[in-house]
């Protein structure tokens, strides 16, 4: 395993270096860096040209200039990066620190969301092959595949941001809209639930009625401006998360695992009252400490009550504890939505990667950060969601046709066990190889998306560098995105090796 990873790191570093040479050569040959000065009519034109040639070392051959950049960049290994200056004289290091944060946040979040949602959609559409849900997902995936990123981004900016901001000024949902939302959800749930006509009708009816009631209730109490979950909803959602975990692991047979999960939720409820006051204005340190405590509680409960299936019990109770903590966090976050809207007026911003001069408490900062991020993230997620769901679907279908799945069926295992334990794990193996390629294309997509939303991120830096034939910003962009891609690739490789033991040999 270690040898495998080391070999992969070696190859990746070589490719990273080769890519830097290629990109450097291409960039410095992509135009004339003195073009604007040659055309200028300034009196000191020759002097300006001379000083730029001096500053950018244009009189040196390319390999000398590359070597200068390379020696500076290689100091990053000892954390003393020297990425040079841009043509205008700005320090690349400080530009990079600002730009990299927002862009990497965007791309990482979009990747994580796309993997989770895409794999879920792919698995569900494979399990319900040739159902209405399957056709809908397939068709949606084709649309997303064919959608130009920038076009989707502009549309979302118009309807998602400006539309939402207009709506939040006076948030009411009409009865027709409520009905429509309820019907769409009802249809989706009944298509996923499958089964015979009666089961479909029941799931459709129940979902529609519940959703209609919930939305109407939220609307009548003005939830959209003062949202909160409250303890009852937190408990309900945690139970749902616990149910999902049970479905994925042991099912309802194992009483010990169920007890462990329920005890975890009970402990969480007690801690909710203890921790509640501290959550008014916490810090990230406190939040992570609380998350760590949830993990410890989960491990403890699972270990103590797990009995013969201790491992499963530990996993389930840790998952439940984290879910409970997450919902408590989300509840407190929602409670601060109202004051955030009051402060900003139009919450979802369409331009820029941060409101300049915004100040607020911990939660309002998160909202400020999230509302900038949400639209670009949706665009990027939707675009790469398509490939994940398609690949997962075909991989899952291929896996379920294998002989060992038939064996598992013939010995009487339930569909749940076959799908989660036998099929899913094997179907996920090929998906990990896509992650690396997809991450690279997401960075490309981020360049376009950032431009539409006017972010001053990595994409803007790359474009500014390319427009002025200035290799330093372009190479800084490459250094960050390339390294991130290599790390992502490595994570995918490790995931591959842990899913497929054959590769470790």
């Amino acid at each position: 395993m270690l040898q495998f990873i080391l070999r992969r790191i070696g190859i990746s570093l070589f490719v990273l270096w080769a890519g830097s040479v290629l990109l450097y050569i291409l960039t410095i040959n992509s135009g004339d860096p003195l073009e604007d000065l040659r055309e200028s009519r300034a009196e000191n034109r020759d002097q300006l040209i001379a000083s730029r040639v001096e500053a950018m070392n244009l009189d040196e051959p390319w390999y000398v200039r590359y070597w200068m950049w390379f020696t500076g960049a290689s100091k990053c290994l000892v954390l003393q990066c020297d990425l040079g200056t841009s043509r205008g004289g700005g320090d690349i290091n400080s530009m990079l620190v600002q730009a990299a944060g927002s862009s990497l946040r965007l791309v990482t979040l979009a990747t994580a969301l796309a993997i989770v949602l895409g794999v879920t959609m792919g698995v569900l559409s494979a399990i319900r092959q040739y159902s209405g849900f399957d056709y809908a997902v397939t068709f949606a995936a084709f649309i997303f595949f064919s959608l130009p990123v920038f076009w989707a981004a502009v549309l979302l900016k118009q309807y998602g941001a400006i539309g939402f901001n207009d709506w939040i000024a006076d948030p009411t949902v009409s009865t027709v809209t409520t009905l429509l939302i309820a019907l769409v959800f009802g249809l989706t749930v009944s298509a996923v639930a499958g089964g015979d006509m009666q089961r479909r009708l029941i799931s459709f009816g129940a979902t529609t009625v519940v959703l209609f009631a919930v939305v109407t209730y939220f609307d009548s109490v003005g939830w959209w401006l003062r949202p909160a979950l409250g303890l009852p909803l937190i408990l309900l959602l945690s139970l749902a998360a616990f149910g999902l975990l049970l479905m994925l692991t042991s099912g309802l047979r194992n009483r010990k695992v169920i007890t462990a999960g329920l005890v975890t939720i009970a402990i969480g409820t007690v801690l909710y009252f203890v921790v509640g006051p501290m959550m008014e204005d916490p810090s990230w340190g406190l939040v992570f400490a609380l998350a760590a405590i949830s993990v410890v509680v989960g491990v403890g409960v699972g270990f103590a009550l797990g009995g013969y299936e201790r491992r499963t019990a530990v996993w389930v109770s840790v998952g439940t504890a984290l879910a409970f903590g997450g919902f408590v966090f989300f509840d407190e976050l929602l409670r601060n939505w109202g004051t955030f809207v009051d402060k900003t007026g139009r919450p979802i911003s369409t331009i820029g990667s941060g409101t300049p001069g915004f100040s607020g408490n911990f939660w309002e900062q998160i909202w400020n950060w999230g509302t900038q991020l949400i639209l670009p993230t949706i665009v990027l997620t939707v675009i790469s969601l398509a490939s994940y769901s398609r690949y997962t679907r075909s991989s899952m279908l291929e896996t379920t046709q294998q002989d060992y799945i038939r064996t598992a069926r013939s010995k009487g295992l339930s569909d749940r066990v076959i799908n989660t334990r036998h099929a899913l794990r094997n179907a996920l193996i090929p998906i990990t190889t896509i992650v690396a390629f997809d991450f690279a294309s997401l960075i490309g997509g981020a360049v376009v998306t950032e431009r539409v939303f006017g972010w001053s991120g990595m994409g803007a830096m790359f474009q500014a560098g390319l427009d002025t034939v200035d290799p330093n910003p372009v190479m800084a962009f490459y250094l960050v995105t390339g390294t991130a891609a290599v790390l992502m690739n490595m994570l995918a490789d490790i995931a591959y090796a842990s899913l497929d033991p054959r590769i470790r040999r």
């Binding site: 990746s12 595949f145 130009p148 076009w151 490309g444 995105t481 290599v486």
Partner: protein, 354 residues
């Protein structure tokens, strides 16, 4: 297989039925075992091979693929849409010196009528003076969109054909000869993990400098790696097959083996991948033009039109909708076409069995 197909010896030989093979003669009930008619009948009777039903038509591989493709409704509809867009864009404003039936040029301005609003109406159906509206200098937006579609399609098909050629050759060479060609190919595909395709394409397109042929060439030398990897994978397994060994044994040259024996077997993969490359190339070209590294004014392309008018979205949304819908329609139909072709060439995952 019904019961009549089964050779007789598979039937249970009931005692007393006369078929229990107890008779002294191996040919029961025969008076003259040597007659030719008799031998023929016996061969039929005791043959273990399944009798071919010659009344049913049999199909060649190509015919099977064609039949499966024509049964895929989505692919057929998208083929129709694609051909429709192609014909519309080429005939309406003409191509090069050949004039089209649409009188207005995409280069000349005019006075803006009615705020440049589109005059297209579905009922009663009429095109009007400017069916897609006018841009801010009064240019006819229908002509502009058609020109953009022409450019995008030209680039996409050129990239599709060129990159398929390069990818097939390199992939076949890498898979057949292995060695350094393969190593170089694999490292080149790795390169696209660290440098996003769009970023590399932006730099190369900037060097190419805005003409459509230069841009098409520049994109072709970048996008072939995916196809090459697929072809390499297929060639790797095909080169171990018996028919390749046989061809080697009779002294065929490597070139003949690759082109006559191996590549025809990968044609499905190649065609499907070429289709998907065309779809990707349309999106890549429009993204580059949007960023300002693709086609440059006064020429136009669909991506450039969106880029120029994205700020006009609230006041004159049609300037934004038409080119976007055309990109979406082209890319969607090409993708569906690719899916239909994939099902036709590789029906394993398909419901309709034949």
């Amino acid at each position: 297989m019904n019961d009549n197909d089964r050779p007789d010896q598979d039937r249970p030989h009931l005692p007393g039925s006369g078929e229990e093979r107890l008779s002294p003669s191996p040919y029961p009930g025969s008076a003259d075992p040597g007659s030719p008619q008799r031998v023929d009948e016996l061969e039929k009777r005791f043959s273990v091979e399944k009798q071919l039903d010659l009344s049913e038509k049999s199909y060649s591989q190509g015919q099977l693929v064609r039949r499966r493709f024509f049964r895929h409704k989505g692919a057929l509809i998208s083929l129709g849409v694609l051909v429709g867009i192609l014909v519309l864009s080429v005939t309406s404003i003409g191509w090069g010196p050949v004039p089209g039936w649409w009188g207005k040029s995409y280069l000349t301005g005019a006075t803006v009528l009615d705020g440049g609003r589109p005059t297209l109406s579905l009922w009663p159906p009429s095109l009007g003076e400017h069916p897609f509206g006018q841009d801010n200098t009064g240019k006819d937006y229908f002509a502009l969109t058609m020109r953009g579609a022409q450019q995008s399609l030209t680039i996409a098909f050129t990239v599709g054909i060129l990159s398929t050629l390069i990818g097939t050759l390199v992939g076949a060479a890498a898979g057949y000869y292995r060695g350094w060609v393969e190593a170089v190919l694999m490292r080149m595909t790795d390169l696209f993990i660290v440098i996003p395709l769009l970023v590399l394409a932006a730099v190369v397109a900037k060097i190419a400098g805005g003409g459509i042929w230069a841009l098409a060439l520049a994109l072709s030398i970048l996008v072939w790696t995916g196809l090459a990897r697929l072809v390499r994978g297929e060639v790797l397994s095909l080169r171990e097959r018996e028919f390749v060994t046989a061809a080697e044994a009779i002294g065929s040259s490597s070139g003949r083996i690759i082109f006559k024996h191996i590549l025809p077997n990968t044609i499905g993969t190649i065609i499907v991948s070429a289709t998907l490359t065309i779809a990707a190339a349309i999106l890549l070209e429009s993204a580059l033009s949007f960023l300002g590294y693709g086609i440059l004014p006064p020429e136009t392309s669909l991506g450039l039109l969106i880029s120029q008018y994205q700020t006009a979205f609230t006041s004159r949304p049609w300037l934004f909708w038409w080119p976007g819908m055309f990109i979406l329609a082209i890319a969607l139909s090409v993708n569906f076409l690719g899916d239909g072709l994939r099902d036709a060439f590789d029906p394993r995952q398909n419901r309709s069995a034949d």
